[in-house]
Each structure stands twice: as C-alpha cells, then as structure tokens.
C-alpha cells in the first residue's frame, strides 16, 4: 500500500507553566492522502492553530512526528504552503500584490518571465484582475485573503495548509471563498488540510473531517464525508446527508466542549 502524502503520528505538544506542564496537544494521529481535502474541527481554544503550525514545521513539537512523503518535517518543507488566518499580518503591506505573490519565487534561479507568468496565473486562479500593482491594504478583506491564497498557489504546493482562513470575512464573502477554494483545489490537483472552527464549513468542503476534543486536543473521531462533488452552497447543504453529518460533528464538538 502506498504511504499517504502527509502522515501525522502521535503528535504532542506541552508547555511549561507556573502550575506545571500544560498539555496542548496529546497523541494526535491521522493522515492526509494525495489529492484529499481534510478538515480539522474542534472546540475553540483546543489548540487547532498550534497543531497546524506544528505540522507546518513552524512550531516545535514535544512528541511524535509529521512526515511529508515519509520525510520528517523539521522546517517548512518544499511542496507545502501555508495560508494564515490573519491576512492583514501575513501579507506584507510594503509590497505590492504582485510582489507579495512573487516573493517565494524570487532568488531561486527561476527565470523572470516564468515568475511573472506564475504571478499572473495565480492571481487569475483566485479571480483577481487588475490589482497586481496595488498594495494589500487597498483591497477588501476577502480580496486580501485571495491574494494570500494566490501566494500559496504560486509556490505550486502539493499540500496547502490553511488555518481558519475565512474566519474574519463576512458570511457572503466566506461562501464565495469556500467555492473558490474548491475550484482551485480541483484545478491545481492539490491536497488541502483545512483547520476551522466552523462545522458547516468543515463538512461542506472536506472529504474527511477530523474532529478534535477540547484541550488537550486529541482525535475524537474521523468522519468520512461522502457528499457528491462538485459541491454547491444551496444544493449540497439542502441534502439530508449534509444535515446528518453536520449534526454528528456538532454533537461531537459540543459534547467534548462541555
């Protein structure tokens, strides 16, 4: 059997504190297959972001390991891109939109023409036109997060990690961005690991939903989502299976929060 693209194995993370050691993440194990869309949900404050940063190689872990292609991740590896929750801080305001998207490409011996082309293609993929020379702060929140996604795409990643990327935009923009994400996911043939606290969003987007328990975060259950694709904001959410899956995840999340 082929090993999965991303293997998260017995991950744990604890912090020293004045009242002894705080266990943030405890023995989390799951995998993400090539081309899969996996959501991670859990009660707020359960350590989802810490988990994602650990998987990305941006935070140290106290136990277990994360492997991409069987290689243990220590530092952010090639083939993995991250979209952060707070676009206003992860996009660099001193750079234009095009320079933000092109930043990870430069200084690596890629020809200039190829860089320009990749920037254009990435912005096109997220539906942004005529904003390349603007600065991020001249755009709306939803458009800024599109730029952040474009920067992820520009790196041509095998796997895109997303940390509550749509948490700070309004509901309508959020629905648009969800559908946009599903489009680029299938266009680019990527794998996505998507952390959210929104249960509807987790179910709507994913092939599988990893439900975490309240702090310390453990894997409560992994739920397969067999809703047909392409998904549709109204049609998919009107299906009885959607309601059932949603209720199930809801129960698990609320149950462990209590």
């Amino acid at each position: 059997m082929e090993s999965p693209l991303l293997q998260i194995d017995r991950l744990s993370k604890s912090y020293p504190s004045r009242r002894g050691t705080i266990q943030a993440i405890d023995d989390v194990t799951f995998h993400v297959g090539r081309g899969e869309f996996v959501s991670v949900v859990g009660p707020s404050g359960c350590g989802k972001t810490t988990l994602l940063m650990g998987i990305a190689g941006l935070r140290s872990l106290t136990g277990g390991d994360v492997r991409l292609h069987g290689q243990t991740i220590v530092e952010p590896p090639e083939g993995m891109a991250v979209v952060f929750q707070d676009y206003s801080r992860s996009l660099f305001p001193w750079l234009t939109v095009a320079s933000n998207v092109g930043l990870p490409l430069r200084g690596r011996g890629m020809p200039r023409a190829k860089i320009t082309e990749t920037i254009e293609r990435s912005l096109h993929a997220v539906g942004l036109h005529g904003v390349a020379e603007l600065h991020p702060w001249q755009l709306s929140g939803g458009m800024q997060q599109r730029v952040a996604i474009a920067r992820g795409l520009a790196q041509n990643p095998e796997i895109l990690l997303m940390d509550e990327p749509f948490a700070s935009v309004d509901a309508q923009t959020r629905a648009n961005l969800e559908d946009l994400l599903l489009d680029v996911w299938s266009d680019y043939g990527m794998t996505v690991l998507f952390v959210t606290h929104d249960i509807d969003e987790a179910v709507y987007l994913a092939d599988r939903v990893v439900v975490l328990t309240a702090s310390p975060a453990r894997v409560d259950q992994i739920i397969g989502v067999d809703l047909p694709r392409p998904r549709h904001q109204l049609a998919t959410k009107a299906r009885p299976e959607f309601a059932r899956l949603r209720a199930r995840v809801f129960e698990l999340v609320m149950g462990s929060a209590r």
Binding site: M53, A56, L58, E75, P76, E78, A81, V82, F84, D86, S88, R89, S90, F92, P93, W94, L95, L103, P104, R106, G107, H135, W137, Q138, R151, Q155
Partner: protein, 279 residues
C-alpha cells in the same frame, strides 16, 4: 469698527494659496521673534549681537556671493561648508550602516543582546563630545577624527531603534517569512528591515540632529576648515556678524537636511501611513 480691517486681512489671507497660508500660520512666531530681535538690536546696538538684517546680510556676502555658475556658493562656502557636510554625511552614513546592521543582529539574536546590553547602555550614556580629546589623540586634527566622532555619537540611537523595531515585528509576519522558505538575505531585506523600518527611520531622523551637533562641536575644537572652525576663527577675531551669519547658515542647513529626510521618510513609509488610514 474693527470688523473691516480684519475682514480685509482675512480676504487677503484667503487670497493666498492654501499652502502659503499654512506656511504663514507655521512660521509667524519665528517671524515675530526675529522682528523683536531686529528692533532691540537696532535700538541698543551691541558689538556681540548685531541686528538680524546684518547677520543675514553677512550670511549672504560670506557664503552665497558666488557666481551663478557656482550656484551662488562662495569660496568660503566651498571651502568650509562642503568640508563640514562631507564629514557629517560620511559619519552619518557609517552610523546608519553600522547601527542598522548591529541593531538587526541584536534584535533577532537574544543571546547577543544580553551579552551586548551593558556595552550599548554604556556607549549610549557617554556624552560623545567628551570623547573629543581622545579622538584627537587617536586621529590627530584630521577629518577622520570628526567623522569618527560623528559616526560614534549618532550610531547608538539608530542601533537601539532598529533593535526595538526588529523585536516588535509581528509574529505572524515572521512565521510567514519562514513558511515561504525565504533565503536569509531575502528575509532580511524584504521582511525584517521593511517591517522594522518605521522604528529605523525614527532612529535615523534623530541621528541626523546628533550628527550635525557633533559636526560643529568637533570643528569648534579641532579642525582647520569647516563651519565650526569658521565660527571659532571669527569669534577670536571679534567678527561677531560673521559668527551670527554662520549660526544662521547652520540653522538653514539643519532645516534643509530635515526637509530632505522628511521626503525620504514619506516615500519609504507610505505603506505605513496609508495602512494607518485604511484600517
């Protein structure tokens, strides 16, 4: 009764452009003070404090009486002001480069900071002018001595501000830089320095003032040309108009340099201001 002249004055003021009115409202106090000085110095003449008009006239004839092809700069200007400005510029550039580089290193590298902290505090606390006698011993009465003193004295504020700026960079920005796998050089030049630039620029602005002070002071005591030297020379020969003329020259140079720097600041930090407005 008094409404009419006020109205006329208002009408006249609004007839000026907006920029002119702003300038006027900005400098009127300076104008009043200079007029007062003029009046006092004319009413009771003193050899030490000539009227402003005399000082300004001397400033013109001494420093700005060159031909048009020389941009009206006199030989005295070319001999002395150029020498002074060259020292200030060299010293300030060294201070800026060393201050920013060391500041970034100490901002990023905690252990280095703890190690260097006492040295930085000590260096900052020593009044740079006090090092003048030592600098003279080390370098002799040379331009290198002035440059050294200017560089040394104006470096600290750049260093400390840069360090603060780097320390206060948002964590998400640093995580982003790491996740993009930027090379060390690109992380430095595209993320670290721009993110800290509001602080760095503040340090640089303050350091210009310090550099100018050290330029003059070091020339007052040890130089064979320069504006400071010119002032001391004329003071010793009791030519107080020339002394005052040079004082005004220094004020104008200071204003001009600060203006130039303000332009640079507006240009480099336009994202910072614009974002402040946008959010």
């Amino acid at each position: 009764m008094s409404a009419a002249p006020v109205g006329v004055a208002r009408g006249w003021l609004s007839g000026l452009g907006r920029g002119a009115r702003e300038t006027l409202s900005y400098v009127w106090l300076l104008g009043v003070l200079l007029l007062f000085w003029q009046w006092r110095a004319t009413a009771s003449p003193s050899p030490f404090v000539p009227p402003v008009s005399d000082a300004l006239q001397t400033l013109r004839s001494e420093w700005f009486s060159g031909s048009a092809s020389q941009l009206f700069l006199s030989e005295i200007f070319r001999d002395n002001a150029f020498a002074s400005l060259a020292r200030a510029t060299q010293g300030w550039l060294v201070a800026a480069m060393v201050g920013v580089s060391l500041g970034v290193v100490l901002g990023v590298w905690r252990a280095a900071w703890e190690f260097a902290n006492p040295v930085v505090r000590f260096g900052m606390s020593v009044p740079s002018t006090v090092l003048l006698p030592i600098a003279v011993v080390l370098f002799g009465i040379t331009s290198s001595m002035n440059v050294f003193l200017i560089a040394f004295g104006s470096m600290w504020v750049v260093l400390v501000n840069t360090m603060d700026g780097v320390r206060n960079i948002d964590e998400t920005a640093m995580l982003t830089a790491r996740s993009l796998r930027l090379s060390r050089f690109r992380a430095f030049s595209r993320v670290l320095v721009p993110a800290a630039s509001p602080h760095i620029v503040t340090g640089l602005r303050v350091s210009i003032g310090i550099a100018l002070i050290l330029m003059v002071v070091s020339e007052l005591f040890a130089a064979t040309e320069g504006i400071g030297y010119y002032i001391v020379y004329n003071q010793r020969t009791f030519q107080y108009r020339k002394v005052w003329g040079a004082v005004f020259l220094l004020a104008f140079l200071g204003v001009a340099l600060n203006g130039l720097f303000a332009l640079f600041e507006t240009w480099t930090l336009r994202w910072h201001r614009a974002r402040g407005r946008g959010e």
